[in-house]
């Protein structure tokens, strides 16, 4: 609507200014036409004067040529009407919609490019954020892994210590048991050996010793045994 008002104002102002200067314009046009026709008619007159018998030919040619310079009211009228109509119709129904569509398309293209650039920069920011977060996560993971390793090491040391202690205890207990059993075995062996020796000695001595010897020997043995065990 503002466009139309501008157009009308434009036209009104134009008509005003035009009328102001149109006098000067028409004057110029008249001078031009006058000069042209004079330039055409002068030599034609000279030609007719020089060759009166060619007057018809010269006049015809002159008038036809004059046609080119003659202001033709019909053509002026129709040109003005046609141009004004075409200008008005196209202004309202063609140029403004076409120019509007061109502007809209250019605006849409510019907006699309701007959007794409904005989205790209946004995507870049997001990517950077994600990379930063990823790096953070990696550091965190390493820290956790280190801690776990340390904890594991500590645990392993504890377990080994405990196992070693237990093993030592087991060995010590086994050794004590062994010593006890060895002592018992030695005791048993000593007792057995004494009985066996007595029985062997009885057999040998019964055959070769006298009654006296028996006695003496027996006393001697009792003494010895008593001495050994005492």
């Amino acid at each position: 609507m503002a466009e139309l008002h501008l157009g009308l104002g434009w036209l009104g102002a134009g008509l005003g200014a035009g009328l102001a200067l149109i006098g000067a314009g028409l004057g110029m046009a008249l001078i031009g036409a006058g000069l042209g026709i004079g330039k055409l008619a002068g030599p034609a007159m000279e030609g007719i004067a020089r060759q009166p018998e060619a007057a018809g030919e010269i006049r015809t040619t002159m008038i036809i040529a004059m046609d080119l310079l003659q202001p033709e009211p019909g053509l002026i009228f129709w040109t003005a009407v046609t141009f004004a109509l075409v200008l008005g119709i196209l202004w309202k129904f063609a140029w403004n919609p076409i120019l509007g569509a061109l502007d809209a398309r250019e605006e849409a293209i510019r907006k699309t490019i701007d959007d794409a650039e904005r989205l790209q920069s946004e995507a870049k920011t997001i990517l950077e954020q994600h990379e930063a977060r990823l790096a953070e996560a990696r550091t965190e993971g390493n820290r956790i892994l280190d801690e776990a390793r340390q904890a594991g090491d500590r645990l392993k040391g504890d377990v080994m210590d405990k196992a070693r202690t237990e093993a030592e205890q087991v060995v010590a207990r086994a050794r004590r048991q062994l010593e006890l059993e060895t002592d018992q075995a030695l005791e048993t062996i000593r007792n057995e050996a004494a009985g066996l020796a007595i029985r062997v000695a009885e057999k040998v001595i019964q055959r070769s010793l006298t009654e006296e010897d028996h006695r003496r020997l027996a006393e001697q043995a009792v003494d010895e045994i008593a001495g050994a065990s005492g």
Binding site: G18, L87, W95, L99, L102
Partner: protein
Amino acid sequence: MTAFTTTIQHGAERVDEAAHGEQGVDVVHHLADSHVLELEPFGTFQLPQWELFGLDVSITRYTVYMWLAAALMLLIFLPMARRRGGVHTGMYNLFEALVVYVRDEIVYANIGREDGRPYVPFIATLFFFILFMNLLGLVPFGATATGNLAVTGVLALFSFIAIEASGVVANGPVKYARSLMPQGIPLVLAPVMIPIELIGHVAKPFALMVRLFANMTAGHVVILSLLGLIFIIHSYLVAPVAVAFSIFIYMLEILIAFIQAYIFATLTAVFIQLTRHPH
């Protein structure tokens, strides 16, 4: 007045004989406007002759081709304005490229992006109207309406109005009127300076009018003269040379049709900018 009209008709008959008889080709006949639409071999059509307020407003050959140009513009640009979104193809892209060219290279380049926007419709109409009329003169049976001073004069008048209006709109009436008398010049010189400035304002559209008319007429004169050589020399041997040269000039004419439309539109934009920013 009646005697004068009779002479014109008489003259026209004589020229018809000259143009289509054995004497040769009449160049002026092909350039002059007429009440007859010659579409040989399909026939010759007499156009209606009208009067309005005592003025002869008959439909002439040039009027018909001017209307054809106007109709082409409406047929091309009105459907173009209704197309929305999607992928555009073919003719649409061709004319959109031209519209964008007029907008960017002619209007925005000279007046500026923000200031130039309101002038795009006027200059685009001017450009395409002149271009289509120029090109219609190059099709068979066609007539170059822009090869006539009345047509180019009216177009220049519209340019003139647009140029002066832009000065009034941009600077206000007071500053616009003061631009006719440059600053810092003694008041004694006003009687000299103001007419000079006025002539300067009028000379610009006057140059537009003559430039377009002369350029469009000259090409046709050259083509017709080259073809006329065949009839003047009376030899078939001349024909290949003359036809080859006239085809070359014809190609040049296609280029000139675009160049002249471009120059008319560009100079209008330049003059608008000059008037908007007076010295």
